[in-house]
């Protein structure tokens, strides 16, 4: 039995409808446990105050923002090479989730940064990279929306995702270089660095990360199912028009 069996829409629909309730329940449980533990049952870090607890949302969402793009890259490649429609539709379904994760990461970053740096926005390399990543998500979604023929749209967005991935990575290093060039001896604490992390934060953070991954899987399954149904509907409509 091969993994490609799940590329068959029928098989995918069957499997996903079985898996969806389990994944949803697991999502709710892990998010609830992780966030409640993180917000209410951890000690307040000495020098940061309670604002540090935003990291239980910030870190997982930032990780997901990047991981989702990587997932889109993989599914786009599968579509371009093996022409499995489910793969292309999964990439399409993932993009808005990734964009929202990026926004969450940016907003929580700003909320966290305000009391720490005294400003809502700092052209910190990490924040800037996320802003650029968000632009890539926007362009990707806009291209999906603009093209009517679904196969053409899948092909073109796939190519864009490929080229975009290279440039997103390149931008990441360019931005790092650019900001160092501005103020080399910056004393700003880099967001997401692990060293100031209290060990007691570690377990709830991992639970939160697992929760966010599960949340993504739930939403992805839901959205991909919707996309497959939309696609089916469109095919039927078009056939009717031609007959």
């Amino acid at each position: 039995m091969s993994i490609w069996e799940y590329a068959n829409p029928v098989k995918f629909m069957k499997t996903s409808s079985w898996a969806l309730p389990w994944v949803s329940v697991a999502t709710v449980i892990s998010l609830a446990v992780g966030l409640i533990w993180g917000f209410f049952f951890t000690t307040e870090a000495m020098n940061f105050g309670s604002t540090v607890k935003v990291l239980f949302v910030h870190v997982p969402s930032a990780m997901m923002a990047i991981n989702i793009w990587v997932m889109m890259l993989v599914t786009s490649l599968i579509w371009l090479i093996r022409r499995h429609h489910v793969s292309a539709l999964a990439a399409k379904a993932a993009a808005p989730i990734g964009a929202v994760m990026t926004i969450i990461a940016l907003v929580t970053g700003a909320v966290w940064g305000q009391p720490m740096w005294g400003t809502w926005w700092e052209w910190d390399p990490r924040l800037t990279s996320f802003l650029i990543l968000f632009l890539f998500y926007l362009g990707y979604m806009a291209l999906w929306g603009a093209i009517e023929n679904p196969d053409t749209a899948a092909d073109l967005t796939g190519v864009l995702c490929l080229v975009g991935s290279v440039f997103a990575l390149l931008s990441r290093y360019a931005v790092k270089f650019w900001n160092q060039g501005l103020h080399q001896d910056s004393t700003i604490l880099k967001v997401g660095e692990k060293d100031p992390l209290d060990p007691s934060y570690y377990i709830p953070l991992v639970i939160c990360i697992v929760g966010f991954v599960l949340l993504f899987v739930t939403l992805l399954l839901l959205r991909t199912r919707t996309e497959i149904r939309l696609r089916r509907l469109k095919a039927l409509e078009q056939r009717e028009r031609m007959a």
Binding site: N8, P150, D151, K234, A235, Q238, R239, M242
Partner: protein, 210 residues
């Protein structure tokens, strides 16, 4: 000599099959006219043969570098002169002089005129002159006589006949009679793709959706 062979071809438009089970051959010195109602897939078929889109099924075999394709629109640049337009395509196809083509399509007096100042019929003639400068033996023509007057249709018919006499071949989709009595006519209606439920071929849209 066989110039083009099509075997059990199926073509799609927008992901849906429009024609299936299509087979024919085209020999040197012959013309084949495609007929069928609007929307049957004549343009789609010709674009597939020209290599602009992949066939859904079946094979197209022809010797390499033998086909010249002419679409609905002539691909003329309105700010370039007639001669410049032709010269460009002659260079792209690596053929020599454009003079015979200008002569044949009766464009010599117009050769310095900008393409935008030509009438619709003159533009069409220029587009067909482009076929002559490609030097390719197999012409694939999509509605070549649209907007030509009766005299120009005769002129075009003669050009095609001369091309066939010189060992070329032509495949065209057209509604009107070109006066090419030797041309075979292929009606596409029997090859209309059936829905998958009736045993027709499945398009990319239908890939196991159920």
């Amino acid at each position: 000599m066989e110039m083009l062979r099509v075997d059990n071809l199926a073509v799609t438009r927008g992901g849906l099959p429009v024609l299936e089970g299509l087979s024919f051959t085209l020999e040197a010195g012959h013309a084949l006219v495609l007929r069928g109602p609007n929307g049957i897939g004549k343009t789609t078929l010709l674009r597939t043969l020209a290599g602009l889109q992949p066939p859904l099924a079946g094979t197209i075999s022809m010797p390499p570098e033998t086909m010249a394709y002419a679409a609905h629109s002539d691909g003329l640049k309105s700010t370039l002169s007639v001669a410049e337009n032709l010269q460009f395509w002659a260079s792209v196809y690596g053929t020599g002089s454009i003079e015979p083509a200008l002569e044949r399509m009766n464009l010599r007096q117009l050769s310095e005129r900008a393409a935008m100042s030509l009438s619709a019929g003159q533009k069409r003639r220029l587009g067909l002159a482009r076929l002559l400068v490609t030097g390719r033996p197999v012409w694939v023509l999509d509605e070549p006589t649209v907007s030509l007057d009766a005299a120009s249709v005769v002129l075009f018919g003669e050009a095609v006949r001369a091309h066939l006499a010189a060992g070329g071949a032509a495949l065209m989709a057209t509604h009107i009679d070109l006066g090419l009595h030797e041309a075979r006519v292929l009606d596409l209606a029997p090859f209309k793709a059936r829905p998958p439920e009736e045993g027709g071929i499945k398009g990319s849209f239908d890939e196991a959706f159920a």
